[in-house]
């Protein structure tokens, strides 16, 4: 195997948490509120169903082909040529999604904190740092996640507690005023978040305790759902109906925090925490791309691919959109379908095809016997 490191299923869950929650946590309330209005906190519940579905499919695939990632599985199921084509298109989408994440990061940091710094510097620096982590391999990413995720979680909890005085629970009433449909519509951007669980396929082969893997996969979906419910709920409680009008509701909420006349303007701290989460997210996608492309090319080591892929990532994150308007439009329209078709569609088709193959083979054996 190319990756020699091993991780525990707890570490896997800790990697997946920022992969799914980070970056999205800033604007997901606004995007969801556009469709779901006051029911935006119900949407993560629907969205998490997609999460459970993806986890289930990935585990079934893993059961059929243990010790293989999705890239190797496609080749096994569809044969060499078709498998290679599907594999590279899947990897291309991984690259594309990661460059979207990086662009979001660059856009946010550029807009809010480093207004005069060229976006290339902001993007280049994070990609370089992520490159170091990817070079270290899955083990290093897992250890970083294990160190950082508790800090990130604790800080979010702290922010939540500090915001409690500003919350107005009555904002959520009436619940489901327009029926169930708005909250389901709001679940579409939520589902785009939960689809990231497809990355599990690149971690399952390297687990030390596979038996607990399914348990931790489900737990991480559940905790993600809980986090999203809390985030959407708190921004609803604070902003009420205007949630959908704000670009980054969570950040504006944190600007509200003022304690003892001394603790105020915590958004720099929030940015620090947010950058840490984003770092883990970008590194994991980056790692998956590097590992996938090396498996696709049947290389013996993935390290030579790290820095070339980094350049590709920087270039793609610039190319992904010419300006902010186009980028936001892309994010709220095309990207849902893109990620859904590749992150849910391909694994589902793979599983169905694999099961069908298995059945046919069994039938044949049965006839022979």
């Amino acid at each position: 195997m190319i990756e020699k490191g091993k991780i525990s299923s707890l570490q896997m869950a800790m990697i997946m948490y920022p992969v799914v929650v980070a970056t999205g946590d800033l604007f997901i309330p606004a995007v969801t509120a556009k469709h779901a209005n006051r029911d935006l906190w119900i949407s993560p519940l629907w969205g998490s169903l997609i999460g459970f579905f993806v986890v289930y499919i990935i585990f079934q695939l893993h059961k059929l082909f243990p010790k293989e990632t999705l890239i190797q599985q496609t080749e096994r199921i569809f044969g060499r040529i078709v498998g290679k084509i599907i594999g590279i298109s899947f990897l291309f989408v991984m690259l594309q999604i990661n460059s979207q994440i990086i662009r979001q990061y660059g856009q946010f940091v550029g807009n809010v904190f480093l207004v005069k710094t060229p976006i290339l510097i902001v993007i280049g620096s994070i990609v370089l740092v992520c490159g170091f982590a990817v070079r270290g391999g899955l083990e290093v990413i897992a250890r970083c996640a294990q160190l950082f995720v508790p800090i990130v979680l604790l800080t979010w909890v702290l922010f939540f507690i500090l915001l409690i005085p500003d919350m107005e629970p009555r904002n959520m009433l009436p619940i489901m005023a327009k029926g169930i449909l708005p909250s389901i519509k709001g679940a579409i951007p939520q589902a785009a978040i939960f689809e990231h669980f497809v990355l599990l396929t690149f971690m399952l082969p390297y687990l030390t305790d596979l038996k607990k893997g399914m348990k931790w996969g489900v737990i991480s979906v559940f905790i993600t759902m809980l986090t999203l419910v809390l985030i959407t709920m708190s921004s609803l409680f604070i902003f009420g109906d205007i949630t959908s009008e704000l670009a980054f509701p969570v950040m504006i909420a944190i600007r509200y925090i003022e304690m003892a006349g001394f603790i105020e303007h915590l958004e720099a701290l929030m940015m620090a925490i947010w950058v840490i989460g984003t770092f883990l997210k970008i590194s994991t996608y980056y790692y998956v791309f590097v590992l996938g492309i090396s498996q696709w090319l049947h290389l013996s080591d993935y390290r030579p691919m790290v820095f070339p892929s980094g350049f590709l990532l920087i270039a793609f994150s610039i190319w992904v959109a010419t300006d902010v308007q186009e980028f936001l439009h892309f994010l709220s329209t095309v990207s849902y379908f893109q990620s859904a078709s590749f992150e849910i569609g391909i694994p589902t088709i793979l599983l169905l095809a694999a099961l069908a193959q298995k059945k046919i083979r069994k039938n044949k054996e049965g006839k022979k016997g």
Binding site: S8, L10, Q11, V109, F113, L114, T117, I121, V122, S125, I126, V129, F132, A133, G136, E139, V140, A142, R143, C144, Q146, L147, F148, G261, F262, E264, H265, A268, M271, A272, V275, I276, F279
Partner: protein
């Protein structure tokens, strides 16, 4: 032409060193057995020790009949003891027959002697300070353990002082250091292996471990890495430290070095391996983790609540030592809105006359501080106090009065300085102090984002590091919940039931269960 000359000279020099190395090889690799004829032996040894005026060849007659030769190095061997216990009993009396080795050994009233068979062994023993006695018509010589040289007495460790706990520290003499450890661990399972390193210095290195606690593979790995070393000399444990590390390009020490016997004994009891080097009081312990490097032996001697609190304080100040100046620079340059208004007003008031941007101010002060610290170590004690007075004036008052540096910056730098000295192991503190400079540069370029990215890079590096196969960040990453009791807090001794996961796996429990004390109900005297 010059270049050509230089090349020639270089070639000449290198060929010469090669020759001398060959000669060294010849002498040390001489497995030639000693001859029966004493004169032959004498001649060979005299050619080997040509121009070595420190070697004494003493010819004498045993019991007035048998020729004998005593070889020793003046200053390394105890002359009085040689006269009293070797020469006097041997020269006494007369005997008609040729004396043989067993009889001679009986006559010498010494507890420790050893037979030597080859020239190599003779040379080895003589250089260690043990006189060698060669007798005519005898195949084997006798090495007498009479080495004695001037050495420092046991003193309190200078670099690692503690308040509650043993006061003794290692010295430069290997045998003394070994005895200090043996005084603490009195089990025959306490093993010591020896290696000789250094082509010229032939430094003795002892690998100590407790059988049954230390992983045999680890001991083997330590021995392998030590035996791989081939260098001219090993004068301090720092020489081999850099030769056996897992990652040679890291600012962090991957081995624990200490001059406290109690610290080494505690580490041995956790299943680690220690390396003692002759000629230095600094002992190496492997494997280590970042958190062991942030602990002091005193943590285990104080009450557990106090130790836990001190550990938290230490972790807090490690972070401060690393990021305080860079965060200050970042906030003052890019994120002024983070500072509460009144504080911002007072800071900006004091910065009004300062001609430098915050970044240069911080860099200036930090470099000055580092220079003062280094000068404080190097300067003779008599001048030291003068430097500290001048330093305090330069850093503190004069610089602020002259309007070169603002007083908040002086506070930040002073705090950072104090924070870095809270780290109990000097070499670890130096690593953190070094890393503060790149972080400051990042803060000057990208503000808090730069600091965060720098910290992430440091954490990535720490997560990549291993010390003899043990991940550097254990037990936080990879997480070992059971080992947290000795990292996040210092649990009371009756709760420290298990050894650290990655070093003491072979022998898990270090206490019997149910050690928690309490007032005994049966003894109530009411």
């Amino acid at each position: 032409m010059d270049v050509f000359k230089k090349l020639v000279r270089k070639g000449y020099v290198s060929s010469q060193t090669k020759i001398s190395a060959d000669k060294l090889q010849d002498i040390t690799g001489m497995q030639i057995p000693l001859s029966l004829e004493l004169n032959e032996n004498l001649q060979t040894l005299q050619t080997i020790y040509e121009n070595c005026l420190y070697v004494v060849f003493h010819n004498f007659l045993i019991s007035g009949k048998t020729n004998a030769l005593l070889i020793f190095i003046e200053g390394l061997s105890d002359k009085d003891m040689i006269n009293e216990y070797v020469l006097t009993p041997l020269s006494q009396g007369t005997s008609e027959v040729q004396e043989s080795t067993p009889i001679v050994q009986n006559k010498i009233s010494l507890s420790n002697h050893k037979e030597v068979k080859t020239f190599e062994e003779v040379i080895e023993q003589v250089s260690m300070g043990n006189p060698v006695l060669l007798i005519d018509k005898e195949m084997n010589g006798i090495a007498l353990n009479l080495s004695k040289w001037e050495h420092r007495s046991i003193q309190e460790p200078v670099a690692e002082p503690i308040i509650k706990g043993p006061r003794e520290g290692f010295t430069e003499t290997l045998s003394v250091n070994m005895s200090l450890l043996l005084r603490k661990i009195k089990s025959p399972l306490f093993k010591m292996n020896s290696v000789k390193l250094g082509r010229y210095t032939q430094t003795q290195i002892v690998v100590a471990y407790i059988e049954g606690l230390a992983d045999p593979n680890l001991v083997q790995e330590v021995m392998n890495r030590l035996e791989r070393i081939d260098m001219d000399g090993v004068l301090e444990s720092g020489y081999i430290e850099e030769m056996i590390e897992d990652n040679p390009f890291s600012p962090f020490p991957q081995l624990l070095t200490t001059e406290r016997p109690d610290a080494v004994a505690a580490q041995l009891l956790e299943g680690r391996v220690s390396i003692l080097v002759d000629g230095t009081p600094i002992v190496i312990v492997v494997p280590t983790t970042l958190f062991s490097l942030l602990q002091s032996p005193e943590d285990y001697y104080q009450r557990f609540m106090i130790s836990s609190m001190i550990r938290w304080l230490r972790y807090l100040f490690v972070v401060i030592a690393l990021v305080a100046p860079s965060v200050y620079v970042a906030i003052l340059t890019y994120h002024q809105e983070m500072v509460p208004t009144t504080l911002l007003l007072s800071i900006s008031k004091s910065r009004e006359d300062i001609p430098f941007p915050a970044f240069f101010e911080a860099l200036l002060m930090e470099i000055t501080f580092e220079a003062l610290r280094e000068a404080g170590i190097r300067l003779p004690k008599q001048v030291g106090s003068a430097v500290s007075i001048v330093g305090a004036l330069v850093i503190g008052q004069a610089a602020t009065a002259a309007g070169l540096v603002s007083s908040p910056m002086v506070m930040v730098v002073a705090l950072t300085g104090i924070a870095s000295f809270m780290i109990p192991h000097y070499s670890t503190g130096v690593s953190f102090r070094l890393l503060r400079f790149p972080l400051m540069i990042l803060a000057g370029i990208l503000g808090l984002l730069g600091v965060v990215l720098g910290m992430i890079t440091i954490v990535i590096h720490l997560c990549t590091l291993r010390s003899f196969g043990v991940p550097y960040m254990t037990p936080l990453a990879p997480m070992k919940t059971r080992d947290m009791k000795d990292v996040l807090v210092r649990a009371p001794w009756w709760m420290l039931k298990t050894r650290p996961h990655l070093t003491g796996a072979g022998n898990k429990y270090r206490q019997s269960p149910g050690e928690i004390p309490g007032s005994s109900k049966g003894d109530e005297s009411e």
